[in-house]
Every structure is written in structure tokens, then in C-alpha cells.
């Protein structure tokens, strides 16, 4: 592993090629243009040096010569300019289009990944792969390549020309130039400590700021403003001190490298001048101007190339993370002969076993038969498998053994979309899209009319708060409904299902954030809507589920009790214990 990190990972690199392939013409253009522009950048100082050499002194100026060199400069400049423009646009196209292609691929991949993967990986991690890693990859790899290429061309060209002009000065430049790199590295190493310190204090301060601002109302309610401000000032002052060190010492890098470059410049000037006044001059004034301009520029490609290797490694590391994502196994595709579904709502589970982790059995030999129109409540302590049952019914996960049948057909033989469209689902985790209220309610039925939407909102008792929002149904809610309360979000999720009227319904803690009275009204709305439809209700608020036809009491993946409220209370078993714990009776 560590070996892989050090060298360039060729295997990953090979996988990158297919992405570059559609843009290989652009890549070719890019390399060609990079060479042209590097060559021009090298030649122009020579041409101008030659032109200066045509000016030997008063009356001894070769005007035609100057003109010739000037013309060459003009030609190279224009050529280089054109090359630079093509270089930049080709590079942009390659980088941006490859990012786009990879992102589209990951987006499609996300829709096909099994829930088991997505549940196990934090969303932030996947987002950073799709966004940051893709950016870093396309920037790093392609910019890295061009820079590496131009850098090498420039260095070789400069070396060749300097050697051709004067071997000893060329050697002087070659030996001295990398000095500035060492100076930069030296300072960077020393200042690292200050930066870590700054990061630490800044982190502490950010944590304090978070806490203070989140608790601002409490601070004000207790009139504790002065004390809090004093605590803040203490860490603020501390940050000021460490920041000053970090900022100041790191800002010494540029002047120091500049000093080294200036010294090299002076040395080159001195040696050139000495050569120029030697008995048989090995150096002309023009040649000196060429060397001086090379001396000031020669360090640049080295600086760039030293960055390129890290950049390439980083880019490959990023793309490796993306490939790992793309290589994940898809959820199994729908069977070729998968059936459509026009569900009546007869659901049966036959000897179902399921486990998320191979060695941790969860649901074992679970059987259940639900007649169309029945209301099934599932209760039990946290982690007993209630939500798992829903994952199986929706086919977010497939059973390990046994089968779930809807109207007699194994759900693995039904098209996923058909199955899911016939089940309306409201989860505890209230997810809403960034968009208007209207779009959100109509999520399952994009062509719904406003009347239908309002009717659904009224049925779910969301209408009264929606009409109070600044723009009513056209109010834009931020990502995941950040500007709504938990209860309001839940009402919208219910409205979303109310609009689609599926033949089966799953409510997973669907009303946990809603007050009991509103909940009761929604239940009655559900009841009306669900007449003749099958529904599964998960709740830990027992008042919610008293009216179910069948209550399944689950514990550790098994049904421990089964029956309606009255019979279960009469049994005085686990359900009765749960019920009494809740109401303290």
C-alpha cells in the first residue's frame, strides 16, 4: 500500500486513458501548442539579444539586422500567442469535459448502488468524491501533464541554448538555480510548526464560535453576554498571537528565494561581463542579455515540476477514490421476465431470514400474512428490526432466505419501480428536495395540478402552515427543508404520499415530530385514504397504533407477540410492559 502511494500508480493511470480518449485530438493540440509556446519563450530573448548585438555603436548599427530579428520576434510572438490560446482552450476542454463525464457516470452509478453501500458510507464522503475529487483529479492530472511537459521542454531548451552560447556560464546557472528551491523548502519546514499551531487554535476558536452562536439566545436570556465575550476574547487574542507567527514566517519564503535569484543574477552578470571583456570575448552584450533573462526565468520550471509530482500523485489518489466508487457492485438488475404489478395489497412473508452483517443474524424465519386492506402496526424497542422489515418490503435490501410475495408474486420477480410505486412510504427521516413546496408535494406525480396538490396538503394538515409561508406553495425550501420545522417537514412528506394514492402504505415513525392532535387527524385522513389498502405502521408512540388490525411486537428480529391492542393488553406480556412504561400507569 505504502509502495503504491509513493510511486505513480500505473494501473490507475491506465484506467484514466479511456476518459481522455474522446479528447485525444485536444490533447495532441495541447502538447503541440505547449512546445510551440515554450520554444517561442526561449527564442525571443535570443532574437532580442541578437538584435542588440547588431547595435555595435554609433554609426555601426546593422539596421537591416535589427529589422530581421525584430520581424522574427514578431513572428514568434504571434505564433506563441496563438499557441497559448489553443493550449488554454484545449486544456480547459479536456479538464472540464472529463470532469463532466466522470460526474455523470458517478451520478448514474449512485442510482444503481445498493442501499447496503449507501447506508454504510456517509453522504459527505460520497459527495466529496463526486465534487472535490473529480475537480482535483482533472485539474491535477491535466495541468500536471502540461506543466510537466512544458517544464521539461523549457528546461531542455534553456540548457541547450545556454550550453551552445557559453558552457561555463551555463554550468553556473545550472548549479546555482536550484538553491532557491532549497531555501524555500528550508523555510517551509521551519514554519510548519506555526501553521499546525495556528490550525489548532483556529479549530478551538471555531468550536467556541459555533457553541456561542448556537447558544446565543441562551446567553442573552441569562444576561451572560459580558462573560461570554470575555471568554471569546481570550482565545481570540491567542489566535492573534499564533497567526502573527505563522503569517510572518511563511511570508519570508518569497523574499528569500528572490534574494537567491538576485544573487544568481548578479553572479551571471559578473561572469558574463568578465567573459565580454576577456582578450578574445566569448560573450557579446546580446548574449549577456540572453543569459540574464534566462537566469531570472530558469528557476520557474523547476519550481513547477517539483510541484507536479505531488500534484500527479494527488490526482491519481483522487481518481482512485472515484474508481473505487464506480467499481462497487450494482444492486442486481430486474429479472428479464420481471412482471408489472397491479397490486391488491395481499402481502405475505414466508420464512424470511435477513442479516446486514453475515455473522449477525437479525431477522430469522419470519412469516406473516397480510390480507388486503389490513393495518399492521410494528412495535418494539430500538434495534429490534422494525425498520429492517420496511427495507425488505420496499426491496431496498433483498432477503437472504425465504420470500416476500405481493399478490402471490415474489417481489424479486416484480420490476422494482412497479413494486415501489404501489407502496407509499413516509419515513422518520424527512427528506425534501431543494425546490418549491409545490414541487416537493408533487414529487411522486410531477404532472399533478395545483388543485390536487392543495387537496393533498389539506388532507395532511400541511395547508395551514403552507399558506402562512411568504410565497405559499411557491415558497422555495432550502436543501433538505432547512427552513422548516421537523413537524412541518413531516407533514409535507405525508402530503407527498397523499397525492400518489398507492395501494399499500408504509409509515415509519411518520408522525414522530407532530403533536398528538394533528397526528390523530392525519391518521384519520390516512384511514380514509387507506380504506381497502394495506398499511404497515412503525411507531414507538403506542397511542399511534392502537387502532391497527394486527400489532406485531418485535424483539431481536422475532415476532414475540401478535394480536390487536386489547388482546395484547389482556395477555399482559411484552406489549403491555411497553405500553405501561410509556404512560406510567
Amino acid at each position: 500500500m505504502s509502495k503504491q502511494k509513493k510511486g505513480l500508480d500505473l494501473q490507475t493511470l491506465r484506467r484514466v486513458f479511456p476518459y481522455v480518449k474522446p479528447y485525444r485530438l485536444h490533447l495532441l493540440t495541447s502538447l503541440l501548442c505547449a512546445s510551440v509556446s515554450a520554444a517561442a519563450a526561449l527564442l525571443i530573448p535570443i532574437f532580442s539579444g541578437n538584435a542588440i548585438d547588431c547595435m555595435l555603436g554609433p554609426g555601426a548599427v546593422d539596421v537591416a539586422g535589427v529589422g530581421k530579428w525584430a520581424l522574427l520576434i514578431a513572428l514568434s510572438a504571434v505564433l506563441a500567442a496563438i499557441a497559448q490560446q489553443f493550449l488554454a482552450t484545449s486544456n480547459n476542454r479536456i479538464a472540464y469535459c472529463i470532469s463532466r463525464d466522470i460526474r455523470n457516470e458517478t451520478s448514474c452509478k449512485l442510482q444503481r448502488l445498493p442501499l447496503s453501500y449507501l447506508d454504510a458510507h456517509p453522504a459527505g464522503d460520497v459527495v466529496s468524491r463526486v465534487i472535490a475529487d473529480v475537480d482535483a483529479f482533472s485539474d491535477g492530472l491535466l495541468m500536471g501533464f502540461t506543466q510537466l511537459f512544458t517544464g521539461v521542454v523549457t528546461i531542455c531548451g534553456t540548457l541547450g541554448i545556454m550550453l551552445a552560447l557559453n558552457v561555463s556560464i551555463a554550468l553556473l546557472v545550472v548549479v546555482l538555480t536550484p538553491l532557491s528551491l532549497f531555501v524555500a523548502a528550508f523555510i517551509a519546514k521551519r514554519t510548519h510548526r506555526y501553521f499546525t499551531e495556528q490550525a489548532k487554535v483556529r479549530g478551538e476558536q471555531t468550536a467556541l464560535i459555533n457553541e456561542m452562536i448556537e447558544g446565543q439566545k441562551v446567553i442573552q436570556a441569562f444576561g451572560h453576554e459580558d462573560e461570554s465575550l470575555a471568554a471569546f476574547d481570550e482565545i481570540n487574542g491567542q489566535l492573534g498571537k499564533v497567526s502573527l507567527n505563522a503569517t510572518f514566517f511563511s511570508s519570508l519564503v518569497n523574499p528569500s528565494t528572490r534574494l537567491v535569484n538576485n544573487i544568481i543574477y548578479a553572479a551571471v552578470g559578473l561572469v558574463c561581463a568578465l567573459f565580454a571583456i576577456a582578450e578574445n570575448p566569448a560573450m557579446t552584450i546580446g548574449g549577456m542579455s540572453v543569459f540574464l533573462s534566462y537566469a531570472s526565468q530558469y528557476a520557474k520550471p523547476f519550481n513547477e515540476i517539483s510541484g507536479v509530482v505531488t500534484e500527479l500523485q494527488n490526482a491519481l489518489a483522487c481518481v482512485r477514490r472515484i474508481f473505487t466508487l464506480l467499481d462497487e457492485r450494482d444492486r442486481p438488475a430486474d429479472a428479464a421476465d420481471a412482471a408489472d404489478l397491479d397490486a391488491k395489497g395481499h402481502v405475505s412473508l414466508a420464512d424470511v431470514s435477513f442479516r446486514y452483517v453475515p455473522d449477525r443474524p437479525l431477522i430469522e424465519d419470519f412469516s406473516l400474512d397480510v390480507q388486503p386492506g389490513q393495518r399492521i402496526a410494528i412495535v418494539g424497542p430500538t434495534g429490534c428490526g422494525k425498520t429492517t422489515l420496511i427495507n425488505l418490503l420496499m426491496r431496498f435490501y433483498d432477503v437472504n432466505e425465504g420470500a416476500i410475495r405481493v399478490d402471490g408474486t415474489d417481489i424479486r420477480q416484480i420490476k422494482r419501480q412497479e413494486l415501489r410505486r404501489s407502496i407509499g412510504m413516509v419515513l422518520q427521516d424527512t427528506w425534501l428536495k431543494a425546490g418549491t413546496i409545490r414541487e416537493n408535494i408533487a414529487y411522486g406525480k410531477p404532472d399533478a395540478t395545483l388543485e390536487e396538490i392543495i387537496a393533498a396538503a389539506k388532507a395532511s394538515h400541511a395547508h395551514s402552515f403552507i399558506r402562512r409561508l411568504p410565497n405559499g406553495y411557491d415558497t422555495v425550501i432550502t436543501e433538505n427543508g432547512g427552513n422548516l420545522s421537523a413537524g412541518q417537514k413531516q407533514l409535507l412528506c405525508i402530503a407527498r404520499v397523499m397525492l400518489t394514492l398507492p395501494p399499500m402504505l408504509i409509515l415509519d415513525e411518520a408522525t414522530s415530530s407532530i403533536d398528538t392532535r394533528t397526528e390523530l387527524r392525519i391518521q384519520s385522513a390516512f384511514a380514509k385514504m387507506m380504506a381497502g389498502r394495506t398499511s404497515f405502521i412503525v411507531a414507538h408512540r403506542l397511542s399511534t397504533i392502537r387502532e391497527a388490525d394486527v400489532i406485531l411486537v418485535m424483539r431481536d428480529g422475532h415476532i414475540v407477540e401478535q394480536g390487536n391492542h386489547d388482546t395484547l393488553i389482556a395477555q399482559n406480556g411484552f406489549y403491555a410492559t411497553l405500553y405501561n412504561a410509556q404512560f406510567g400507569l
Binding site: 497559448q84 460526474r103 510572518f248 538576485n262
Partner: protein, 580 residues
């Protein structure tokens, strides 16, 4: 800007020294081509080794002095920048302490946090670079031209033409692209948002069978991003080739004019080299300047955002002198009170009137969003009523000073918010002078004494940031204790026992009844069981007061209350009644 200027004034010495020394350094940079010209014109022409050595020594000396100047400048620039940032952060935090709840709601927690962290850092960076480079770059550009004039006025005219042309190119491209870059950022944010949304909502997306639609939507956003990137890329790419051509044209002009002048012996060939060098210095500086301007634009935008927080005036003013308690037995009175939150479309509570007497326990009940919290938030004047008057001890709340209100009223908010420190330091929020005995007494009443006693550190037990090392129920009880420590005349519990189990909740309510007789308690709850013993229960529905009275009276007269109660106790109560 006015905020920044005050810091420049405060750090006047630093703000002057830093750019000054930067300019000194630049001056030495500008002298380099002249020295080289001297080497060529005098040293080489006269074959004077001593002179050449001297001039090269001069170059190195200049480089060293330049380094010293530069270090000085960097130091003072860093001091001013960091002083400004530290000061701004303090100023912001101090200002936030003075904002009323209305402003806090409008601006929002995450915005305030960003302003205090990312934006202030951006400003710090901007000030630092501004002091270092903003004078240096124009100075070099202008200086190079001036030096060119000292070399040869005629040839310098070329500079006079080239510099404006170069400036137009550099700044023109920047002006064209900066709004486009903003667009790119927005599109990238949209793509990020779509990705995150698809992940967090994967169950819903699949449940509604919208996978294809979501992938398509993503591809569309992604395509828009790509188009925007290519668009801005095409224009931004123009800067390099255009400046390159212009600089080289100027170079050719210098060579041609120079050749002519050398021929007529009005110019030396070393001077031509100097002119060429000045031209390339200008190009380097212009590019630096362009980068600097990008950075400064960002810093100015951040500064603007910081300033808009500092400009937010608190909408609440308090009188200099507090009112005197008036009525003997009345604690709180609402008189036709309505409140519309700023930015909301409709009233959150409408035309509420009631009286609470000293020592009474007042229950507040109602559905999600019925206005319970809004109602109690008006008592300590967290918000001002938009219609009607709220009175405290017979006087309008607006007649009381800030300190007096905070001393008399303690609120336990819905969200249990503790602060990093110890249990003791959190409890002392209520009254900094409280003795340990008083703290324990408050903990007893809040049903928190037992678990605090079990902690190894007792009162000195460490509380982590936001109290994350405590359970929800423990946090709630500590926040209740914190309010009790202040021994308020009016205690408000805003649904603050929701994480407590039934037995603890009941014990808490029993303990609260033993508070001093004059303490008026408001209890907001969703459970009728929590309010059954209240002297008066206010029933809210959709912002309106639909019932007011004792539990028994409301069961008789208030439909909404009865519904709430029955939704919680339906079968059992009916059955229990029948059996009894």
C-alpha cells in the same frame, strides 16, 4: 469600508511602514536594470574589471537591503492584518451579543458563524496582501516607466503606450470574467447540492421511482456547469496571449527605436538592454496585480458581508431607567397581542389576551406550530408584539430595562443548550454569585441532583462543547436547574421536559410547586398530563387562543383541548372512568 478604515487608523504605524518598505524594496528592483546597463556601458566598454566587480557587488548589496526591507514590510503587514482580523472578530462577537432575537433569526446561525470565521479570514488575507503588494505593483509599473524616461525619453514613449494597453487587457479580461466565475461557483454548488440530495434522499427517490429523472436532472446541472466553465475559460485564456503579443510588440518597438538612437549615438546599447528589462518587469508585475485584485475582490466581498452584520441595528431599544412593579397581584398580562415574525407572511399568534397572577402555574398547550413558543417568548421581550401590549407586573415590558427583565424572568428553551466548562460553570449562568448550596437546591428541584451526585466530579464534572457528553434528559434537567439558580419571579419552561420519562416529569412538576409562592411558572407542553394541575391552561390553535381555564373546565368547554387530551388518553381514560 468604514470598519476597515478604523482599523487602518488603529494600526496606522503598521499600515504606513509596510507599504513604505515594500516600495523601498521595489525601488531596488527598479535600479537593477540601470546597474546592468552601467556594467555594459561603462564596465564592458572600458574593460574595467574593478568597475564590473563593484557594480556586481552593488547588485548583491541591493538584493540584501531589498531583503531587509521586505522582511520589515512583511512583519508590519502581518501585524496590521492580524490585528484587524482579531479586532473584527471581537467587534462582531460583541455586536452579536447586542442583537435581538429578531435579528438573530433573520441573519441565522450558520451565516453568523461563516462571517466570524471564513469571511474574517478572507479579510485578514486581503489586508495582508493589500499592504504588501497594492503599492508595490503600481509603483513598479509606474516606476519602470519613469526609469525608462531617465534612460531615454523618446524610447520611453513606447512604455507610455504599452502600459495603458496592457492594463486594459488585464483588467478588461478580469472584469469580463469575474461575474462568470461567480456563475460557475453557483453552478458547482447546484451540482454539489444535487449529489448530496440524491444520497440523503435515496430511499425516497427509489420509493417514488425517480432514479432516471434524478440522473437526468443531475446531467442537466452538470452540463450547465460545464458550459459555464468553458465559457469563462475561453475569455480568461485570452489574457496571456494578448499581453504576450503587446509586450513583444513593445519590445520590437524598443529595439527599432533603440537601433536608430544607438546609430545616431543618442543611446548606448546597454541602455537598450535596460529598456528591455523594464518592459519584462512590467509584464510580471501586471500579472501579479491581476491576481492581487482577484484576492482583494474576494476580501472586499467578505468585508461587505461582515459589515452587513455589523450594520444590523438591534430592533429593540430599552429604557434608561426601569419601571417600578405596579400591580400587587398581577404577574403577566397580554392585551390583544399579535406577532408577525419579520419576513413571515402571516401572524404567528393573533389577538391573545389573558392575565397571569403571581404564584400561578400557567400551562400552554397546542399543536405543532400553534404559537406556544411565540407566546412565551414575548414575556421576556425576546420579540416585540406587533399588535397589543404585553405587561409585566402591571407595566408594559417595553418600560423595563434589559437587566431587570433578565433578572426577573428565567426561560428554559426547547433546545437544551449547555456550554463547554463544568456543571458548575453552566449553572452559574443563572446567578454568578450563587453558592454551592443554592446550586444543589436548584439541582434537587430540577430532578438533576441524583445524576450529578453520581458523576465523579460532581459540580466540577466537565461539560463538553454543547454538552455532548450528557444525555438529552440530563441536559434538559441541567438547563432547568440553571434557570432555577437565578431565582426568577417568572419561570418559563418551553417544552423543556420532553426528553424526561413520565415519572421524572411528574416529580419535576411536584417539585416546582414548592417554589416560593410568588414565583409564576409557565409550562409549555404537548402533554395534557403535564398540565393537569395548572391554575390556568391556555389552549392555542393555529395562533389563536381557543380556550383558557383549568383542566376540568377546559374538558367541559374546549373542543380542541378535549381532542388533544383524548388523542393521548383516549381508550384508557374512557375505560378507566367506566370501571371506576
Amino acid at each position: 469600508m468604514k470598519y476597515l478604515l478604523s482599523y487602518f487608523r488603529k494600526y496606522r504605524r503598521e499600515s504606513i511602514i509596510a507599504p513604505l518598505f515594500k516600495m523601498l524594496e521595489a525601488m531596488f528592483d527598479l535600479l537593477v536594470p540601470l546597474v546592468v546597463a552601467n556594467i555594459i556601458n561603462t564596465g564592458i566598454a572600458a574593460r574595467d574589471t574593478g568597475y564590473i566587480l563593484g557594480q556586481c557587488g552593488l547588485l548583491i548589496l541591493m538584493a540584501l537591503i531589498g531583503l531587509a526591507c521586505s522582511f520589515t514590510a512583511q512583519y508590519f503587514a502581518a501585524r496590521a492584518a492580524i490585528g484587524t482580523a482579531t479586532g473584527l472578530r471581537h467587534q462582531l462577537m460583541a455586536h452579536i451579543q447586542k442583537l435581538s432575537f429578531t435579528e438573530l433569526d433573520t441573519i441565522g446561525v450558520s451565516t453568523l458563524i461563516t462571517r466570524m470565521t471564513a469571511d474574517v479570514n478572507q479579510v485578514q488575507n486581503g489586508v495582508n496582501m493589500f499592504l504588501r503588494l497594492f503599492l508595490r505593483s503600481p509603483f513598479i509599473v509606474i516606476g519602470a516607466m519613469v526609469m525608462a524616461f531617465t534612460v531615454d525619453a523618446g524610447a520611453a514613449l513606447i512604455f507610455l503606450i504599452a502600459i495603458p494597453v496592457l492594463s486594459v487587457i488585464v483588467f478588461g479580461v478580469m472584469k469580463l470574467t469575474s461575474p462568470m466565475y461567480k456563475q460557475v461557483q453557483q453552478k458547482l454548488d447546484a451540482v454539489t447540492g444535487a449529489t448530496r440530495e440524491n444520497l440523503t434522499g435515496v430511499r425516497v427517490v427509489r420509493a417514488f421511482g425517480r432514479e432516471a429523472a434524478e440522473a437526468e436532472r443531475f446531467a442537466q446541472l452538470n452540463g450547465e456547469l460545464n458550459a459555464a466553465q468553458l465559457r469563462v475559460g475561453r475569455i480568461a485564456a485570452l489574457m496571456n496571449p494578448l499581453t504576450y503579443v503587446v509586450v513583444n510588440l513593445a519590445l520590437i518597438a524598443i529595439l527599432c527605436v533603440g537601433a536608430d538612437k544607438v546609430n545616431n549615438s543618442t543611446l548606448l546599447s546597454g541602455d537598450v538592454v535596460a529598456l528591455v528589462n523594464y518592459m519584462s518587469q512590467i509584464l510580471v508585475e501586471l500579472v501579479k496585480l491581476a491576481n492581487l485584485i482577484v484576492l482583494l475582490t474576494r476580501a472586499v466581498a467578505s468585508l461587505g458581508r461582515v459589515a452587513s452584520v455589523l450594520d444590523a441595528e438591534t430592533s429593540m431599544t430599552y429604557p434608561e431607567k426601569s419601571a417600578q412593579a405596579d400591580s400587587a397581584d398581577e404577574a403577566v398580562r397580554f392585551d390583544h397581542v399579535s406577532l408577525t415574525y419579520s419576513g413571515a407572511g402571516d401572524e404567528s399568534i393573533t389577538d391573545i389576551s389573558f392575565r397571569a397572577l403571581k404564584g400561578q402555574t400557567i400551562g400552554v398547550i397546542g399543536g405543532t406550530g400553534s404559537g406556544k413558543s411565540t407566546l412565551v417568548n414575548l414575556i421576556p421581550r425576546f420579540y416585540d408584539a406587533t399588535k397589543g401590549t404585553v405587561s409585566l407586573m402591571g407595566r408594559p415590558v417595553t418600560d423595563w430595562t434589559h437587566d431587570e427583565l433578565r433578572d426577573r424572568i428565567a426561560v428554559v428553551m426547547q433546545r437544551a443548550q449547555l456550554f463547554k466548562g463544568t456543571i458548575r460553570s453552566n449553572l452559574l449562568y443563572g446567578d454568578t454569585a450563587a453558592t454551592d448550596e443554592m446550586l444543589w437546591e436548584a439541582l434537587e428541584t430540577a430532578q438533576a441532583a441524583e445524576f450529578v451526585r453520581q458523576k465523579p466530579g460532581q459540580l466540577d464534572e466537565v461539560v463538553e462543547q454543547g454538552g455532548r457528553n450528557l444525555s438529552g434528559g440530563q441536559k434538559q434537567r441541567l438547563t432547568i436547574a440553571r434557570a432555577l439558580v437565578s431565582r426568577p419571579d417568572i419561570l418559563i419552561l418551553d417544552d423543556s421536559a420532553s426528553a424526561l420519562d413520565y415519572a421524572t416529569d411528574a416529580a419535576l412538576r411536584r417539585a416546582l410547586r414548592h417554589l416560593p409562592e410568588t414565583t409564576t411558572t409557565f409550562i409549555v407542553s404537548q402533554r395534557t398530563s403535564s398540565l393537569q394541575h395548572a391554575d390556568q391552561i391556555l389552549v392555542l390553535d393555529d395562533g389563536e387562543l381557543v380556550g383558557c381555564g383549568t383542566h376540568e373546565a377546559l374538558m367541559e368547554s374546549c373542543e380542541v383541548y378535549r381532542e388533544i387530551h383524548e388523542s393521548q388518553f383516549r381508550n384508557d381514560h374512557a375505560k378507566g372512568g367506566a370501571q371506576a
